[in-house]
C-alpha cells in the first residue's frame, strides 16, 4: 500500500496582485476542515485558485492542454503561467507582486515566496529542520531545492508527478477536466497511486504513445492501400471491358477509319510544315548571303572605284587645296592652288601631267564588281525561288490544315456520340501493363509497411499489457479500501447505488462507473452537475486512499455547484463535509448564492469551516454593490452557523 504525503497549505499571503485592487496585501491562515472563498461572478475566484497552484508548483494548468505523458504535460504547460498572469498583474506591480505560502509536509514547514514573472525561481525559501542557507542561493537553486524536498517528502519520484497529481486529481478547477472520462489521465493516475514505479509508469506512457502512433499509421496505410486497390480495380475494369457486340464493332471500325484519316491528314500537315520550315530556313540563309554579297559590292565600289578617281583625295593635293601649301617645295599662298585646280579640271595629274583615268574604271576592279554582281544575281534567284516556294507551301499548308480540322471535328463528334463503345473497344497496350504493375508494386509496398507498423504496435502492446497486468493486480489490492470510500461519498451525493470497476481496454486501463447496476461510460449519460460531483468523489476516494492516517491529502475545488438544484446542493454539501471530516483539508470557492451547499458544509463540518469574503478584495460592479448588504447577511449567517458548530 502506497502512502503519499501531500503538502498542506497553512497560510497564504498575496502581495500587490493588481486584480484584487482594494488590498495591497491579502493574508489569511487556513484552519483544518473546509476553507471557502466566497464571491460573486467575475471577481477572480478561479484566479485565486490558480495563484495557490502556481505558488505550489510554479505552473498554471493550460485549459484544453492535451495529456500524453507526465513529462510532456509539464513541458507543455510550463510556459503558460507568464501568459496567464499578464493582465492580472500590472507591469508596474510585476516586481513587487508575489505569493507567499506556508505549507507543512510531514514534519517540515516550508515557507516560500514566488514572483509572478519568475516561474522557475523562488524569491525566498525557508524549510524548518533544514540547516541549508537558502537565502544565499540563487532563486533558481532555491526552486530546485524546494522541488527536491517536496518530491522526497511526498514520496514521489519526480516533481513533475506532483504537478500532474496537483493538476488532475487534487484540483477541480475551471477547466472542469473529468478523470472518469479521460482514460489516459486516469490510467496514469492509477499507476501513480497504486505504486507502480516511476520507470514503469513512464514506460506505460511511452508504449501507449508508440501504439497510438503505429496504429494511426496502420490506419492511414490501410486507407491508402484501399484507395490504390480501388484505382487498380477501376483500371482493370476499364481495360477488361465487355466484348463489343456486332453493331458496336461496326461503330468502332468506323471510329478507327476516322482515326486513320486524322492520322493521315496530320501526317500530311507535318510533311508540309517540315518543308515550309526548310524553305524558310533556305530563304533566311539566302537573304543573309545576299546581304553579305551586297555589302561586299558596296565596299568594293566605294573603296576601289571612288578612291581611284579622287585625285584631290591625295594628301599632297589636299595640302595644296586646303592649306594652300606645296607638299614638294613648301611654297605657300594662293598661287599654289590655281595650277592644281586647273590640272584637276583638265583631268591631268597636277604633279606629272599625265591624264587621269577619269572615265574608265580599272579593269580588275570592274571584273571583281561584276563577279560580285553575278554572285548576287544568283543568290537573288535562289532567294526568289525560296520566296516562291514558301508562297506555294503556305497555300498548301492552309489547305491541309483546314482538311485536318474538318476530319478532326468529325472524329471528335463521333467519339462524343459513341464514347462508351470507343472506350471499350480500345486495345490494351503495353503501357497499361506497366501502370498496373506500378499500382501492384505500390500496394505491396504499402502493405509491407502496414504489416511492419502493425508488428510494431503489437510489440508495444505486448510490453504494455505486462504493465496493465501489474496494474490490475495492484488494483485488486487497493479496491477493498478505495471502492467503498468512493461508493460512500458518491452515494451521499446521488443517493443511489454506485460502483466502479477496473476496465482494461486495448490502450488503457480505466475505471468504469456503474449507476444502479448500469454502466455509464459516456459523458452524456449523466447530467453535467452529476458528472462534476461524481468526479470529485473519485478524487476524494483517491486522495483518501493514498493518505496516511496522520497526513490527509488536501483537495482544491473551484465553484463546483454548476447548475445543481437545491436538493442536490445539500447532498453535495454533505459529501464535501464527509471528506473534510475525515481530516482532509478542503479549499474551495463558491458563489454566495449557493447557500444550501455552503450551509450544509458549515453545518456538517466537524473540523471547522472558514469563510473568506473575496468581494472585500476587489471593487464590485454597480449591480453587485446593490446586493453587497445581502451578501454580507448571508455570509454572516454562515459564519454564525459554523461558529456554533465549532463550539
Amino acid at each position: 500500500m502506497r502512502h503519499l504525503n501531500f503538502p498542506i497549505v497553512r497560510r497564504i499571503r498575496l502581495s500587490h496582485f493588481s486584480l484584487y485592487n482594494l488590498q495591497d496585501h491579502i493574508e489569511f491562515s487556513i484552519q483544518p476542515g473546509t476553507t471557502c472563498l466566497a464571491g460573486a461572478n467575475g471577481l477572480g475566484k478561479s484566479t485565486f485558485f490558480q495563484i495557490i497552484n502556481y505558488g505550489l508548483t510554479g505552473v498554471v494548468p493550460r485549459p484544453g492542454q492535451k495529456f500524453v505523458s507526465v513529462d510532456d504535460y509539464y513541458r507543455d504547460i510550463s510556459r503558460f503561467s507568464k501568459d496567464y498572469f499578464q493582465g492580472r498583474v500590472q507591469p508596474e506591480d510585476r516586481d513587487i507582486a508575489e505569493i507567499e505560502l506556508e505549507l507543512t509536509i510531514g514534519d517540515r514547514t516550508i515557507t516560500l515566496i514566488r514572483g509572478f514573472d519568475e516561474p522557475d525561481a523562488l524569491r525566498s525559501l525557508v524549510i524548518t529542520n533544514d540547516a541549508r542557507h537558502f537565502d544565499e542561493m540563487t532563486p533558481e537553486d532555491r526552486e530546485a531545492n524546494y522541488q527536491a524536498v517536496l518530491t522526497q517528502h511526498i514520496g514521489l519520484s519526480t516533481f513533475k508527478e506532483f504537478v500532474f497529481i496537483q493538476s488532475f486529481v487534487l484540483t477541480f478547477d475551471e477547466r472542469r477536466h473529468l478523470l472518469f472520462w479521460d482514460p489516459k489521465v486516469l490510467e496514469t493516475c492509477l499507476l501513480l497511486f497504486v505504486g507502480i514505479d516511476n520507470e514503469q509508469r513512464a514506460d506505460a506512457e511511452r508504449l501507449r504513445r508508440e501504439m497510438e502512433k503505429a496504429d494511426s499509421r496502420v490506419r492511414n496505410l490501410r486507407w491508402n492501400m484501399t484507395q490504390q486497390k480501388d484505382r487498380l480495380d477501376s483500371l482493370r475494369q476499364v481495360l477488361s471491358g465487355n466484348e463489343l457486340v456486332d453493331d458496336e464493332a461496326s461503330t468502332y471500325e468506323e471510329f478507327e477509319t476516322l482515326l486513320d484519316r486524322v492520322k493521315e491528314r496530320s501526317n500530311e500537315v507535318d510533311i508540309i510544315q517540315t518543308k515550309l520550315r526548310d524553305a524558310k530556313l533556305a530563304l533566311a540563309e539566302g537573304a543573309a548571303r545576299a546581304s553579305v554579297i551586297r555589302n561586299d559590292y558596296q565596299r568594293e565600289f566605294s573603296e576601289r572605284v571612288t578612291a581611284k578617281h579622287s585625285v584631290e583625295n591625295a594628301p599632297a593635293i589636299q595640302l595644296a587645296l586646303i592649306e594652300h601649301k606645296c607638299a614638294i617645295c613648301g611654297t605657300e599662298g594662293i598661287a599654289v592652288v590655281e595650277p592644281v585646280k586647273k590640272a584637276i579640271a583638265e583631268h591631268t595629274c597636277p604633279l606629272c601631267k599625265a591624264a587621269t583615268d577619269r572615265a574608265t574604271i580599272p579593269a580588275a576592279v570592274h571584273q571583281r564588281l561584276k563577279e560580285l554582281d553575278k554572285e548576287l544575281a544568283e543568290q537573288k534567284k535562289r532567294v526568289d525561288s525560296s520566296v516562291l516556294l514558301i508562297t506555294q507551301l503556305d497555300v498548301e499548308n492552309d489547305i491541309r490544315v483546314r482538311s485536318l480540322e474538318t476530319v478532326q471535328t468529325e472524329l471528335d463528334a463521333f467519339e462524343e456520340q459513341n464514347r462508351d463503345v470507343v472506350n471499350r473497344g480500345r486495345p490494351v497496350d503495353a503501357n497499361h501493363d506497366q501502370v498496373i504493375a506500378a499500382y501492384e508494386k505500390t500496394i505491396a509496398e504499402i502493405d509491407k509497411e502496414r504489416l511492419k507498423q502493425k508488428s510494431k504496435s503489437a510489440e508495444a502492446s505486448k510490453a504494455y499489457k505486462q504493465i496493465q497486468k501489474k496494474l490490475e493486480q495492484e488494483y485488486l489490492n487497493i479496491q477493498e479500501d478505495f471502492v467503498p470510500k468512493f461508493n460512500t461519498l458518491a452515494n451521499l451525493f446521488l443517493g443511489v447505488d454506485l460502483d466502479i470497476q477496473l476496465e482494461t481496454r486495448d490502450k488503457s486501463v480505466t475505471l468504469a462507473l456503474t449507476v444502479k447496476k448500469t454502466q455509464r461510460h459516456a459523458e452524456h449519460d449523466l447530467s453535467e452537475s452529476q458528472r462534476f460531483f461524481i468526479d470529485i468523489a473519485l478524487r476524494m476516494a483517491l486522495a483518501n486512499y493514498v493518505s496516511s492516517d496522520t497526513i490527509k491529502a488536501p483537495l482544491y475545488i473551484d465553484t463546483p455547484e454548476g447548475s445543481l438544484d437545491l436538493a442536490y446542493e445539500s447532498q453535495a454539501g454533505q459529501m464535501v463535509a464527509e471528506f473534510a471530516n475525515d481530516g482532509h483539508p478542503v479549499f474551495m470557492t463558491a458563489n454566495i448564492n449557493t447557500s444550501e451547499l455552503l450551509t450544509e458544509i458549515a453545518k456538517q463540518s466537524s473540523l471547522g469551516f472558514g469563510l473568506h469574503r473575496l468581494y472585500k478584495w476587489r471593487e464590485l460592479s454597480e449591480v453587485q454593490e446593490k446586493h453587497e448588504a445581502e451578501f454580507e447577511n448571508r455570509l454572516n449567517a454562515l459564519d454564525a452557523l459554523a461558529h456554533s458548530r465549532n463550539i
Binding site: 558596296q298 566605294s302 571612288t306 579622287s310 572615265a359 574604271i361 554582281d373 553575278k374
Partner: protein, 199 residues
C-alpha cells in the same frame, strides 16, 4: 563612302533629264530619285531595298545625302558637268552608265527610275516639284519648316493606303510605272491647286 546605287541613280536620272529637258538642277535630281523610290514602294518593295534614305529640307523638298555625294563624285570625275545653273551628263557619264546598267544590282532599280523619268514627258520638273509640294507629309514639313525622314513608319503606312487607292482607280496595271505616278501627281496637283484657290 559613295553608294553605288546613288551613283547609278545619278547617272541614269541625269541622263534622262539631260535628254528630256536638256539639263537639271540638283533639287530636280533629288525629286526624281524620291519619286523613283516611291514607285519602288508602290511596286511592293520595302523602303530599305532602295539602299539610301531621303529626308525633307525645311523648304519641303526631298533630299538624300547619299545622292548628293554621288552627284559630287560624278561632277568630280567628269560624268556630269556643271553648265551654269544646269547640270548635264557627259559622254563619259553615258559610257559609265552603260557599264553599270549591266549590273544586276542596278537592273532591279531601272523600272522605278525610268517610271519616274517618264513622267517628264507629261510634267515639267517644276510642275512635278509643285505636285510634291502638295503631298501631305512634305506639305506638313514645309509648313512647320522641319527636317524629317521621309519614310518613317506612319508616312509609309499612309503612302501604302494612297497607293492602294490608286491601284483601285487604275483599270490597267501594266509594267509602265509612270502611269500610277502620273495619276498620283495629277491628283496632288488638282487637290493642292483647288485647296489653294479656295484659300
Amino acid at each position: 563612302m559613295t553608294s553605288p546605287q546613288a551613283y547609278f541613280d545619278s547617272l541614269l536620272l541625269g541622263s534622262r533629264l539631260t535628254q528630256t529637258v536638256r539639263g537639271f538642277s540638283r533639287s530636280e535630281l533629288h525629286l526624281l530619285a524620291y519619286a523613283s523610290c516611291l514607285l519602288s514602294l508602290y511596286g511592293g518593295k520595302p523602303v530599305s531595298d532602295w539602299e539610301y534614305e531621303f529626308s525633307s529640307t525645311p523648304s519641303g523638298l526631298p533630299f538624300s545625302k547619299n545622292l548628293d555625294d554621288a552627284l559630287d563624285y560624278c561632277i568630280r570625275i567628269g560624268d556630269i558637268t556643271d553648265h551654269g545653273e544646269l547640270l548635264q551628263i557627259t559622254s563619259d557619264g553615258q559610257t559609265n552608265l552603260g557599264i553599270w546598267k549591266e549590273h544586276t544590282i542596278n537592273q532591279e532599280r531601272l523600272a522605278y527610275l525610268n517610271g519616274a523619268a517618264d513622267c517628264l514627258l507629261l510634267f515639267t520638273p517644276s510642275v512635278i516639284r509643285e505636285a510634291f509640294a502638295y503631298e501631305p507629309a512634305l506639305a506638313f514639313i514645309k509648313r512647320h519648316a522641319q527636317t524629317a525622314w521621309l519614310f518613317s513608319d506612319p508616312i509609309v503606312d499612309r503612302l501604302h493606303d494612297t497607293f492602294g487607292e490608286i491601284r483601285e482607280l487604275l483599270p490597267y496595271q501594266g509594267s509602265d510605272l509612270s502611269l500610277p505616278l502620273s495619276a498620283w501627281l495629277e491628283y496632288l496637283l488638282t487637290i493642292g491647286r483647288t485647296h489653294e484657290h479656295s484659300n
